[in-house]
């Protein structure tokens, strides 16, 4: 085999190796998410427990590509302090990639029932989700440059009762919704804040709710849709 042929084979191998090392996204067409998307992930938690309990979750991602910047931060924690209490937690957390961005979905139900009401044991916790989206203008879609930031969440400190929350966010539409409901005795707080702006408009909305005492019903639902 001549040296020239050997060199050509070697060059071909090197080129093939370089092609294999290139990210698949580099070959993606215009208008398609061209960098690694949020990974598809989900977690389902189902706990029935008597006694102290602690659950924590922190999640965040930040992506930018194709004229869109997407940020998501989510945190959740729940603690049952020492005592003889019956706790049931059912929790679903999922992140799925969409054409340009991701869809985040969280659904959490906690039931808390101390076996002895004279105990000082409590269920305490909080949940918070942050969304931050920025779109460059798109003349083909006649869409202006838009920025959206929003925070939604709740806090609870219960002697007994149930809390249930559902969070859903979606890019590129920035559709965000949050539902919170509770019944029982103690203190719950919830709310939703969103700020959006484009070249010719600015919108802000903020709501805070705090309920203390013995409550038969706290139902709260909020949604933001840039249409």
């Amino acid at each position: 085999m001549s040296k020239m042929v050997r060199d050509m084979i070697l060059a071909g191998c090197v080129a093939l190796l370089l092609i294999m090392m290139m990210p698949y996204g580099a070959f993606a067409q215009q208008g398609v998410w061209t960098v690694p998307q949020p990974e598809r992930m989900w977690a389902v938690t189902d706990i029935q427990h008597i006694g102290p309990l602690s659950i924590n979750r922190d999640y965040s991602h930040s992506y930018s590509a194709d004229g869109i910047i997407e940020e998501r931060t989510h945190s959740f924690n729940a603690n049952v302090s020492a005592g003889n209490s019956n706790t049931r937690i059912f929790d679903v957390f999922s992140v799925a990639p969409t054409i340009r961005g991701s869809r985040l979905f969280v659904n959490t139900i906690i039931g808390y029932n101390p076996l002895n009401m004279n105990t000082s044991a409590r269920l305490m916790g909080s949940e918070s989700t942050y969304i931050g989206d920025s779109y460059n203008s798109n003349s083909e879609l006649c869409a202006p440059a838009v920025r959206v930031c929003g925070v939604m969440g709740s806090q609870f400190d219960l002697k007994r009762g149930v809390v249930h929350s559902t969070t859903s966010t979606n890019t590129p539409m920035s559709l965000a919704s949050y539902d919170f409901s509770s019944t029982g005795e103690g203190t719950v707080s919830t709310g939703f804040t969103v700020v959006s702006g484009s070249g010719d408009a600015q919108t802000s909305y903020s709501q805070r709710i705090k309920v203390e005492g013995e409550f038969e019903r706290v139902d709260y639902s909020a949604s933001f849709n840039p249409q």
Binding site: V194, D200, Q202, S206, Q207, E212, G213, F215, S221, P226
Partner: protein
Amino acid sequence: MKMSETRKRKSGNIVVMAACILFIMLSLATITQPVSAIPPSEDPFLIKTSTDITCSGSVTESVSFDWAYTNKNLSDNTLTTDERVSQIRYDERTSATDGYIEFKKEFTADGQNTPNLKVDKKIGFLKGDAVTSSLDSTENTGMTIVSEGDTGGGTGVGALCVWAQGACVPPSCEIAVAGSQLKDVTRVNSHTITSVQTSESPRLHHEITAKGAMMGDNRTYGAGTGTVSAGMKVDVREGNNCNNTVHPLGSRLRYSTISTATGQWNSFTKSMTYTSAIPALQIPGQYPLFPWY
């Protein structure tokens, strides 16, 4: 040969017919497509919240909403030729301490459809045993429209109206605010309705109905107790020409009202509405017929 020619002709006819049908369908689709006018903001949005609370204890709730938009550039902080700037605000704060509370509220803010703001709030409160037990609730809404006037005509079918073409709409400033307040209230069944729109036929409306509440095990009626107030302020200025450099004041309208009841009240009702009489382009705003205002 003839058979194959006939087949070819038939298949050709089918292709032509299919093409015709496709063309007609595409044409129809184009004709029936709605004009994509989203006046005047390019950032339409929809915010909806729903709150429903029944509690023996304390409830605090606060809401703040602010929407500002223009048909030009909001960031340049100047009023350019033919520019119109609009702002809708809504703030509410409720604090109910140590009592029995029923609280229901529906909030909708819509950047595309009217009314742009709609709030329906109901509060029921009965004082508890604590000396400090009481309800405070304040609701404010406001609408501001600043217009440099209009000389360039508009868009859409309405703008074809011969009286609208090249119409002179002088510059104007419209400020309308309304609200209501419950203070140191120990017994009430209250209902407020708020609606504001600026993207079509500008209008601001706020009403309150506050009554007593059923109380005790035998559900006897007790009069409302505490202080209830409701009011509105309007300030409108309008120029008298379309000159872009000189703006002589053509008219000024001012209106202010406040009603307050302290003590025991069986019924307190106040309804307040401001509807803009400044036409955008001399086109009367009659559509839609319903809801009837």
